[in-house]
């Protein structure tokens, strides 16, 4: 799979939080789309970037690696990186790879926004 099949939406919720809406597949070839969305979402004043995984259709180990890179960028900018909308399957992958220890996982957008506040 060498083609990017990820589309990203960026929503600025308020002065301090942004949501990145993921639609499609996250693989090593998603780097440009994911990083561009992060750059757009993590603008001035943003304290929390929230990844919305509701539309995630597929993720391989290259995709997990990209999430680590996003995490590093968020940590460097002293921003929280949070997530919601993960199915049980993807929650298990976060647990297996121990990303759940660094990325806060919530059931809904409202829960993630509360945690971000």
């Amino acid at each position: 799979m060498t083609e990017a099949t990820l589309s990203m939406g960026v929503r600025r919720i308020d002065e301090t939080a942004s949501v990145l809406d993921i639609q499609g597949d996250i693989t090593a070839f998603s780097e440009e789309a994911l990083m561009d969305a992060y750059t757009e979402g993590a603008g001035t004043g943003v304290k929390a970037v929230i990844l919305n995984f509701t539309g995630l259709e597929y993720m391989n180990s290259g995709g997990i690696g990209l999430l680590v890179t996003v995490l590093v960028r968020a940590n460097r900018a002293k921003q929280k990186l949070l997530a919601y909308g993960l199915t049980e399957h993807y929650r298990e992958i976060f647990e297996l790879t121990r990303l759940d220890e660094a990325i806060g996982i919530y059931a809904t957008e409202a829960d993630a926004l509360s945690a971000a506040a």
């Binding site: 799979m1 993720m59 995490l71």
Partner: protein, 236 residues
């Protein structure tokens, strides 16, 4: 009801600690009961290292390359390093044991778990007691009209001793290791003069001092103690 994701069968099942089954007799098992560590739980600077070899002059597909690589994984390792694959092969969730040459002539005894596997890639994840915390992904794809085989490592040194070891020649050794492995793979596939390219990126220059306690599982210390111990612990 939600559809089953396409990658469902490709990932290892969640596990809190490693269990080694069906390892060859005599393989050093120092990873039994150890937890997996991602780059998030590592200590040192975070590195992404990408090693690539173009498979010029041969007719093949990414799927065929990965099948060959996975089935004969150990045979492509440079001499002096031993990889003990599980008898069931490199399938998600299986654990392989390793005896590898380290800096200063040391032999590191550790292991890896197969985190992910599909037709075009497979990924190994390191447990506590490895030199680094992270993932190594082996993949093949088409690039500029030719097949390419690639190894990509995303890692942090697990502990301060390993960080020092990597800085004092360990990184260089690791680079040579994967460059030689890819050259061996390419030669096996019929490439006449394989050329391996290496790209190293420091993803995070910050060391995570909160993880310095990983030193209690230091591969250097544990491998040394294992070497000195009578009645060494082995699988089988």
């Amino acid at each position: 009801m939600a559809e089953t994701p396409r990658d469902t069968g490709n990932w290892a099942k969640p596990t809190s600690t490693l269990t080694v089954t069906d390892a060859p007799a005599g393989a050093p098992n120092l990873v039994e009961g150890k937890r997996l560590l991602s780059p998030v739980q590592g200590f040192g600077k975070m590195w992404q290292k990408t090693y690539k070899v173009g498979l010029d002059g041969i007719e093949t597909t990414p799927q065929a390359v990965i099948a060959e690589w996975r089935d004969n994984f150990a045979s492509f390792w440079p001499k002096g390093n031993d990889f003990y694959p599980p008898l069931t092969g490199l399938e998600p969730g299986e654990v392989a044991l390793i005896k590898a040459a380290g800096p200063g002539g040391m032999k590191f005894k550790t292991g890896v778990m197969v985190l992910y596997s599909d037709d075009e890639s497979f990924t190994l994840m390191t447990p506590e007691g490895h030199m680094f915390a992270g993932w190594i992904t082996f993949s093949a794809h088409e690039e500029a009209g030719r097949p390419v085989a690639q190894t990509q490592v995303l890692m942090r040194a697990q502990d301060p001793i390993s960080e020092m070891g990597l800085a004092m020649g360990g990184h260089r050794m690791e680079n040579r290791f994967w460059e030689q492995t890819l050259a061996n793979l390419a030669a096996h596939l019929g490439v006449e003069e394989p050329e391996v390219t290496t790209t190293v990126t420091c993803v995070d220059r910050k060391r995570q001092w909160s993880q310095a306690g990983n030193v209690r599982n230091s591969v250097a210390i544990r491998s040394t103690l294992h070497m000195l111990k009578p009645g060494k612990k082995t699988a089988g």
